[in-house]
């Protein structure tokens, strides 16, 4: 499974709002995630890609595509 699909699955698995998640779906505006949702998503990503995210990583991140970019640029996840 491609990285972006893995990211979308992790988001889907960790939120109550079960809607279709696209590459540009905005976590905060479209999915209305709260800080605990974000933590759960971050934990899911850490486990999936065997990395350790920093608390501030997700401050400006809003979409699966942006998460993919962060993982690639900062953590070398292809």
């Amino acid at each position: 499974m491609a990285t972006i699909e893995k990211i979308k699955k992790i988001i889907f698995d960790n939120i109550d709002n079960k809607v279709n998640i696209e590459d540009h779906t905005n976590l905060r505006n479209d999915l209305e995630v709260d800080s605990f949702d974000v933590l759960m998503i971050m934990n899911g990503i850490e486990d999936e890609f065997a990395i350790s995210l920093e608390e501030n990583d997700f401050k400006e991140i809003n979409t699966p595509l942006e998460i993919q970019k962060l993982l690639k640029d900062k953590y070398g996840v292809l």
């Binding site: 933590l39 934990n43 486990d47």
Partner: protein, 399 residues
Amino acid sequence: MKIKDKFVFNFTDEDRLINEINFNPYYQKIDSGADLYVRIDGKKYLNLASNNYLALSNDKRIIASMKDSLDKYGASMCGTPIACGNVDIYENAAVYISKFLSMEETIFYPSCYQANIAVFNTLAKVNDVIFVDRFAHSSLIEGIRSAGCKIKPFRHNDPKHLENLIKNSNSYENMFVVTESVFSTEGSIAPFDDIYELCLKYDAVPVVDDSHGIGVIGATGKGILEEKKITDYEGIYTASTGKALGISGGIVSSSHNTINFLRYNSSSLIFSTALPPVLIAGTIKAFEIIEAEGEKLVSRLSRNKKYLYEHLQSCGFDLNNSEASVCSVRTGSNENTFKVCKYLFEKDILTTPFIYPSVSKNKGIVRMIPRVDLDTDQLDHVINSFKAINIEHPELFEK
């Protein structure tokens, strides 16, 4: 900007709603106790908003005991427990409550909010990890955040998800697993037997907040440990004495070592004025009443909840799936939730609205605590009021 203008409460969605529907469900000025009926502006309202599950806050035996205590100790010890606030009645109460819960030791905090903050602030360290139910109470979350360690929320009441998270977390010094016993907005009960088993299996410290469980669940009202038949509990137990027990304050029970560690290290205990002895006297009496009459009280409470829940459900109302003594009718939007509270208020019924961010967006509920002293006529009045509101305003309810 002038200092006095720095913290003006800005117009929010709630403000707009309050103005629009001309009803503010918050900070109602009540001029009576938390009785079955409360008085507001000289009018009587059936009180389904209070957490006074067992109607103990006005129990004559408790009040008499508190009056005696006032005569003996006065209003306050005016000192912290570590300095000059540790009167004999605290130690007697701690022994009594520990025995009641089958725990080694107990200490008192001014509130369970402070107790929950103290537990994590004092015991958890940066290199630890805390697994916490996604719907845990704000006090637990605030305490956990204050510890500065890794936080891993698990899906609500989902031990399988919890186990997966634990399995992937082997680089931490200590692991804590945190949950409430009864989740008070919806009334679900944590599968704490399964959670506790996982804690024992993976050497994690369980922390359960039994604020809405003590006096309410378990065959004789002893709370979550009795409900889930857990004996020789080795974790940390916290509870409020301001709900079913009818008083005010918080307790932490655990092993002798843990309690002693808190006793000498938790700043919210050491630097707070000790709970007034009068509150401890009331708390002991409340525990004695539950010890003697718990089975009867719990059974009446369950009967009232079942009656209200099943009748509302059979009328087509959508309720949260509640196992404890809480009935929450789903109303969806903030606007619907406030309006249902308003219309119930006009029918002399006081309820509690829960809107975002207390619950997810558009998952608003109107919560009722079907307390022990309600009779069938009063419960029927509530059911008929819902029916009447639904006839006039069917759009206000989730179906």
